[in-house]
């Protein structure tokens, strides 16, 4: 018997005991109809070859281990960024259970969201009654200040009309006529979670700015000199938005963060559950029309929202998840140009410190090859930072990246001598990445939690940056934006590099040289 009351063995130790090992071996041989181990080994080796890679890249229909989620996840992410707002997803209820679980597993926080719980009868007759009852229940139970509606693919396939449904629900008294119920159609079979972010944010701005679905006069823009800030879908939203607020305050810029979910995904444990916390006030959301300009930190999260804002007369500027020195320079200079405020001295010092740190450590990163995957903007921002460090972002893969994104990546590679052998892979998945890592190995892999399977299979050490990160805690609390954020990313990369050197030089009497105490 292996188990012990004094020292309780967990799953990772328990099953290594001889009784369990014997049991599992017997199970396999007698009952599982296993393949010949030699055959398994042959296929395992074959799956590493260029020949396999070619077949793998010839796939036209099958997707294996994609690095993207579906639109409504992004819509929910946006909705909770507004004061007292409850996301309401019209369609099947299981989807909502999934979004809530997914967000909770990443942020280690509650994630509140309701569904209209459509079932077979709604599939036949439409989900109008679900909308009518659902809005009334949500309004009465959870007392939100706003209910932001989006859709699952079920509601989209049967063609439910949110605008008409919400109007009817209001007529039936589900919620007061003047109550804010912005909406966005977010079909899961178009784009990804970043598209859902875009649609939902545009839906909310459209609601407040352009007459609340025909129930109020459109707002007339009177420029007030403020800056609107949009973070985009971002696993580091908690740390990043707080860092940006600090930067705005250092520069004395008046700002409005749109979809500010930095507090709702970081509530204190003090005896009270806050279903709502922080967020962009509804007043600020409406008044955001008067801003001088809007800054989007993620171009591909705001492809519809930014033109919508520009059409209302604002200057808009889009970045690609800026990380590092030059990208942050550009961000700050843009802010300074638009607002006329000089870049704060304190930020200049932070810049110097980041450059200092990069200079101190550059010898350990220079020339290292990296593979990166993730959302299109994050990939761009990280690749640009690696180029600054003299590293090579050899494979940059984005399942939800477009052809246009790939061209933009190529332009980035072309801008640096370190980008010479680098390639962008739009629309590919992590099974493609597996072939890339086997056939064109790199030193490190940057990606989300699912990258651990690639790390295990290919031996490429994984640096966890992205969304979701389920298996490491609290990193979302630290920014990756601004010079301080760049410092965090630098340290994260360096830690992995040094850990790997130590791991590979720690065999006494064999590799004890290089196991250095000073680096």
């Amino acid at each position: 018997m292996t188990q012990n009351a004094e020292h309780v063995l967990d799953h990772f130790e328990l099953f290594r005991g001889p009784e369990y090992q014997q049991m599992l071996a017997n199970k396999k041989t007698l009952f599982e109809n296993p393949h010949d181990p030699a055959e398994v080994e042959r296929i395992r080796e074959w799956a590493k070859t260029p020949e396999y890679r070619e077949k793998n890249f010839a796939r036209e229909a099958l997707t294996v281990n994609p690095a993207k989620a579906c639109q409504p996840l992004g819509a929910v992410f946006v909705a909770v960024g507004f004061e007292g707002t409850l996301p309401f997803v019209h369609g099947s209820q299981g989807c909502v259970a999934y979004y809530r679980s997914h967000l909770s597993r990443h942020f280690k926080e509650p994630s509140s969201c309701v569904s209209s719980s459509m079932t077979e009868d709604a599939a036949v007759f439409g989900g109008l009654n679900n909308m009518i009852d659902g809005l009334a229940n949500t309004y009465n139970m959870y007392k939100p200040k706003m209910i932001a509606v989006s859709t699952t693919c079920m509601a989209e396939v049967i063609g439910d009309d949110l605008n008409a449904f919400i109007k009817t629900a209001k007529e039936k008294g589900s919620v007061p006529a003047e109550y804010d119920v912005p909406f966005a159609h977010t079909p899961a079979f178009v784009g990804s979670h970043v598209t859902g972010y875009d649609n939902a944010l545009k839906g909310i701005l459209d609601h407040f700015w352009d007459g609340k679905a025909g129930t109020a006069p459109k707002l007339e823009r009177k420029e007030n000199g403020k800056i609107n800030f949009i973070g985009g879908f971002d696993g580091y939203t908690v740390g990043n938005i707080r860092e940006m607020k600090r930067i705005f305050e250092l520069m004395g810029i008046e700002y409005t963060i749109l979809a500010d979910n930095s507090d709702v995904f970081d509530t204190p444990t003090d005896g009270e559950f806050r279903m709502y916390d922080g967020g962009t006030t509804l007043e600020d959301a409406a008044n955001a029309i008067h801003a001088k300009a809007t800054i989007s930190m993620q171009q591909y999260c705001t492809e519809k929202t930014l033109p919508f804002i520009a059409n209302h007369g604002q200057e808009v500027a889009a970045f690609n998840h800026p990380v590092g020195v030059s990208a942050t320079d550009e961000l700050l200079m843009t802010l300074s140009r638009i607002t006329g405020k000089p870049i704060a001295k304190a930020l200049e010092q932070e810049r110097g410190r980041l450059v200092d740190a990069m200079a101190d450590s550059s010898a350990h990163i220079h020339g290292k090859k990296f593979a990166i995957y993730g959302d299109p903007d994050l990939c761009y921002g990280l690749a640009a930072f690696l180029l600054e460090l003299g590293a090579e972002p050899t494979h940059v893969l984005s399942t939800n990246g477009s052809k246009a994104w790939a061209e933009k990546m190529q332009a980035l590679f072309d801008s640096s001598p370190f980008g010479k052998n680098c390639h962008a892979y739009p629309g590919k998945d992590l099974w493609h990445m597996r072939s890339l890592l086997f056939t064109e190995p790199v030193d490190f892999l940057i990606g989300n939690t699912y990258g651990k399977y690639l790390e295990r299979d290919t031996g490429t050490p994984l640096i966890r940056i992205g969304f979701p990160v389920f298996d490491r805690h609290h990193h979302h609390r630290y920014p990756v934006w601004g010079y301080q954020g760049g410092m965090n990313v630098l340290v994260k990369i360096l830690d992995k590099i040094f850990d790997e050197i130590d791991k590979n030089t720690n065999v006494p009497a064999k590799t004890d040289y290089s196991f250095d105490i000073i680096r």
Partner: protein
Amino acid sequence: MSLATTQSVAEIKARNKQLIDEVLKVYPEKTAKRRAKHLNVHEAGKSDCGVKSNLKSIPGVMTIRGCAYAGSKGVVWGPIKDMIHISHGPVGCGQYSWAARRNYYIGTTGIDTFVTMQFTSDFQEKDIVFGGDKKLAKIIDEIQELFPLNHGITIQSECPIGLIGDDIEAVSKVKSKEYDGKTIVPVRCEGFRGVSQSLGHHIANDAVRDWIFDKVNPEAKPAFESTPYDVAIIGDYNIGGDAWSSRILLEEMGLRVIAQWSGDGSLAELEATPKAKLNVLHCYRSMNYISRHMEEKFGIPWCEYNFFGPSKIAESLRKIASFFDDKIKEGAERVIAKYQPLMDAVIAKYRPRLEGKTVMLFVGGLRPRHVIGAYEDLGMEVVGTGYEFGHNDDYQRTAQHYVKDGTLIYDDVTGYEFERFVEKIQPDLVGSGIKEKYVFQKMGVPFRQMHSWDYSGPYHGYDGFAIFARDMDMAINSPIWKKTRAPWKDAPRPSLMAAE
């Protein structure tokens, strides 16, 4: 300290009834009427818990439930390790459920084993407009080329499949024929079907019956010689290794486990199950259907068991043994005796730290009742429980064998109800899922996820009980719960007192 321990049963019942009345007040009239049927205070001696169940969730209330796809792909089929399960439709469903359920297995992932992978047809608009059957056929070809050692394929339908009229059965038949009778199983588990995960379990069970059992060639040479002691473990998903810490006990008592459904299971095991002499059924809710089918068609008896906590384990080992001869009955006694010292040591260590502590549960499947005995072994008391997707037969079993007089019962609880109940009852521990975990921890209430074992486990069997006890102690007696209130908040501020 919980309030419950200082109150009489009559007081508890009165308080619970009042609590139910209070939460119902928040709802619009129609909703209050519907929800009232799902909430009750258990009366000892009644044959069920007095609640309606397995009904549609109400829109907008924040149900905790999932969907039929989750029940089929996520629960029943997903753990079958040597088959490839295609999440057929848009990308999200497969992404959110990717490797999320901790169904442990042994195998070379990506080569002969595929559990922690996400295969999807990633539907685009054109697939919705023109249909996805051609794409599905091509996907099967590509799987055959790139994953040649797979033993079979299942097609797990997401919502759009049933709405756009795709014929996945036809594609499956054609492709199966093309690949020499390969097992290809279409599953109609679209998320809008039924009211919860539950229908997905049933649909998945029926798919095993129709597309696996019915296709096994009765003339084929058996893969192994039968023995009189062959059993199959049904309804154990091997979360954190649960099925392994169960299997070892059955084998130690002299039985031979020929199949695991479905944690660490394989197609060969599913196919061999009709040769079992007894099906032992842990999660009744998700796999009673196939057990009943095997009883009717193959004459295999089935027996429910409970491997949570030493009392229920011993009871279950004896119950299982009663289907066999004295050799097995003696084997059961030998196993119980062997682990008794370990159980005594675990209880001696943890019971003094947990005695009298109260628990509220809200889980799926079998756990809202099955874990009660394990808590009681540790001197703890379950004061409230409910099923995410239970049926009346679950509530009957709960009433007849598990819950105490006065227990608060809540079926398909809403977020609002659960918070209010916990706030008022103040249990020492809440056991529920990831969506509930942080809500209650923010409130300062110790919590354990009782779906994923909060990334721990196994909890089944004697080995698992040691971990269960340790985990409950760790949750309840963590020093952090004494720090949720800032110390300056406790001291009354004299100036304010004076002002009053």
